[in-house]
């Protein structure tokens, strides 16, 4: 079981309120990702759930039990830290067994669980090494192993992949997703990387300045962002925003259209523009095109290789069904 409910939770450091009253429901077995720019309060929120920080007011309950004043170890949650936070003076075996040792588990049971965790995480050959002798990816797996053996109600991940290189990050992303499917346990995952959020989450919680901007599945957020912030944050490359007279034509203060929802033509279309920088990825090409009446170039995504050069005059046509309209406050107009 691993159902977590936050009711009117707030957090202040001195006079500074970093989390205004906040409600959140996390269902059993869900993979929930907290995403937002740095300093948005996502890590603080995770630490409140973990019990490493005390809430200023409000209530946190885990599986129906109020946990607000329960110490971290008694909440039945396990955490994987950004720096891995392994115990450098202990072998991998002792690191993984540490929570069991603290829980006074019998040595035979400890050995059984450590062996099992090592098998699942491909660490069997490294059990007698010290963390200093492992690669970044292996260290990360030890940290996960230490979490697994506790059989927690939920796993908490605090930017666990940000210290790894790009290729390894993709691998670990898959491994964690796979682990979630195998264990079927609630996981809460904090990241500033929207790609990680989109690829791993059942449910994404987008945060800005301690406020939940939107909660939903990755595709819900992609298709129906509730406001300009979410629209700009989810999706890569980010959504293009146009205001002024172009937006006014659509009865909005701002309109947004994603790079993949604009088509380019030499013959004719809605907006006329001039090609600037192009980025060729092979599978896709991103063009930065400045259209008349706008200072900022729009990003346009085309499949495959398209022969357009710097300075070419082109016409852009946004897909009408994928146009997002926002009012002056940045809220979506449905």
């Amino acid at each position: 079981m691993g159902q977590i409910t936050l009711k009117q939770v707030t957090k202040s450091f001195g006079d500074l309120q970093v989390i205004p009253p906040l409600d959140l429901e996390i269902n059993d077995g869900e993979f929930v990702v907290f995403v937002g720019p740095s300093g948005c309060g996502k890590s603080t929120l995770l630490r409140l759930i973990a019990g490493l920080e005390d809430v200023t007011s409000g209530e946190i309950s885990i599986d129906g039990q109020i946990a607000t004043d329960v110490p971290p170890a008694k909440r039945g949650l396990a955490m994987v830290f950004q720096s891995y936070a392994l115990y450098p003076h202990m072998s991998v075996r002792k690191n993984i067994a540490f929570p069991l040792r603290m829980a006074k588990t019998s040595p035979e049971e400890q050995e059984r669980k450590v062996t099992e965790a090592a098998r699942v995480l491909n660490l069997t050959d490294y059990l007698d090494r010290k963390p200093g002798q492992l690669s970044g990816g292996q260290r990360q797996r030890v940290a996960i192993g230490r979490a697994i053996v506790r059989e927690p109600a939920a796993f908490l991940f605090d930017e666990p992949l940000s210290n790894l290189d790009a290729a390894l990050r993709v691998n670990m992303r898959l491994e964690i997703s796979e682990l979630h499917q195998t264990l079927d346990t609630t996981m809460i995952y904090v990241t500033h990387d929207q790609v990680e959020a989109m690829t791993m989450a059942d449910k994404i919680v987008v945060l800005q300045a301690g406020v939940i901007e939107q909660v939903g599945s990755p595709l819900e957020l992609y298709r129906n962002p509730a406001n300009k912030f979410v629209a700009g944050f989810i999706g890569s490359p980010k959504m293009n925003f146009l205001d002024g007279s172009i937006a006014a034509e659509h009865n909005a203060a701002t309109i947004g259209v994603r790079p993949e929802h604009i088509s380019v033509s030499r013959e004719g279309g809605t907006w006329r523009g001039k090609v600037g920088v192009s980025e060729h990825l092979g599978s896709d090409t991103f063009f930065h095109i400045t259209i008349d009446g706008m200072n900022e170039p729009l990003t346009v995504r085309e499949s495959g290789e398209v022969d357009l050069r710097r300075g070419d005059e082109v016409w852009l046509t946004p897909s009408a069904s994928h146009l997002h309209r926002f009012d002056a406050k940045g809220l979506v107009i449905r």
Binding site: A78, S83, A85, Y87, M102, A103
Partner: protein, 276 residues
């Protein structure tokens, strides 16, 4: 790229380093040499360096005249006791200052250190009176307490700087893993801080071993450590340099041996955190 050093340059550097090292060590060397001279040679002018009649006479007389073992035992008890007691008090203090600092932690650290800026003689009178009242005069317990208190600010400061180097996330991980505060300190913090704690122990032991002001003023016969043993040879009967040197050599020998065998630990501990 490693910086290229010319061989001549390297030789000069080595010579300079050795000269400075010998210069610093010279007083100890001279004391040891003098302890093997006769009283006449010890004060001869010009002084003799190595060409003298080597004798063990001074050691014989010193051993005969005073009970070295008792002084040594007192030194061990006083230096060891004050160090261990100090560490036991300083570990929790440094833990709280390093990991759960308050707004005033920095002030408290400075304020603690400020007690070291007062000359010890300034508090001799009140402490002497307190010792009389409490019956601690000429007792090892009293000296353990006073020396511990004198060195406590330094112990706390040293441990504080070592603890600051330990990432807080590791302690948080231990807390998540179910460790109580006591288990966190015993299983995680202390093993990780072993180099720092060891050099703090050693340095403090050396400081306490060599401490002369309080040990001379607060002891008479029963609790007198090796500092009093040395002082007893600069006596009213006149100065006996060779015997004084023999006594000094005997007093510093144990700590010199300890320092020699732990020099690696001491150096790595004292430069801990200087390079990362």
């Amino acid at each position: 790229m490693a910086r290229a050093v010319k061989p001549q340059r390297k030789a000069i550097n080595t010579a300079v380093a050795w000269s400075i090292g010998l210069l610093i060590f010279f007083p100890i060397l001279w004391t040891i040499l003098t302890s093997f001279k006769t009283e006449a040679q010890a004060i001869s002018d010009p002084p003799v360096f190595l060409a003298f009649d080597w004798t063990l006479e001074n050691y014989g007389i010193v051993m005969e005249r005073s009970n070295y073992a008792r002084f040594l035992w007192n030194s061990i008890i006083i230096a060891g006791g004050s160090t261990i007691l100090g560490i036991m008090i300083a570990v929790p203090a440094a833990w709280s200052m390093a990991f759960v600092p308050s707004k005033r932690t920095k002030d408290i650290l400075l304020w603690m250190l400020s007690t070291k800026m007062l000359p010890a003689v300034g508090v001799l009178y009140p402490i002497y009176l307190l010792f009389i009242k409490l019956g601690l005069l000429d007792s090892r317990t009293g000296l353990v307490l006073v020396l511990m208190l004198m060195n406590l600010p330094i112990i706390v400061w040293m441990l504080y700087t070592y603890f600051k180097e330990i990432p807080g996330e590791i302690l948080e991980a231990a807390r998540m893993d179910g460790a109580t505060l006591r288990e966190e300190v015993i299983h995680i913090l202390t093993p990780m801080a072993v180099p720092g704690i060891a050099s703090t122990l050693l340095l403090n032991f050396i400081l306490a071993w060599n401490e002369a002001f309080w040990t001379l003023n607060l002891t008479a016969a029963k609790a007198a450590p090796l500092t009093a043993f040395i002082a007893s040879y600069s006596s009213p009967e006149g100065l006996f340099y060779a015997k004084l040197s023999a006594a000094s050599t005997m007093a510093i020998a144990p700590i010199l041996v300890l320092g020699w065998f732990s020099q690696k630990q001491l150096v790595s501990g004292l430069t801990f955190g200087a390079v990362k």
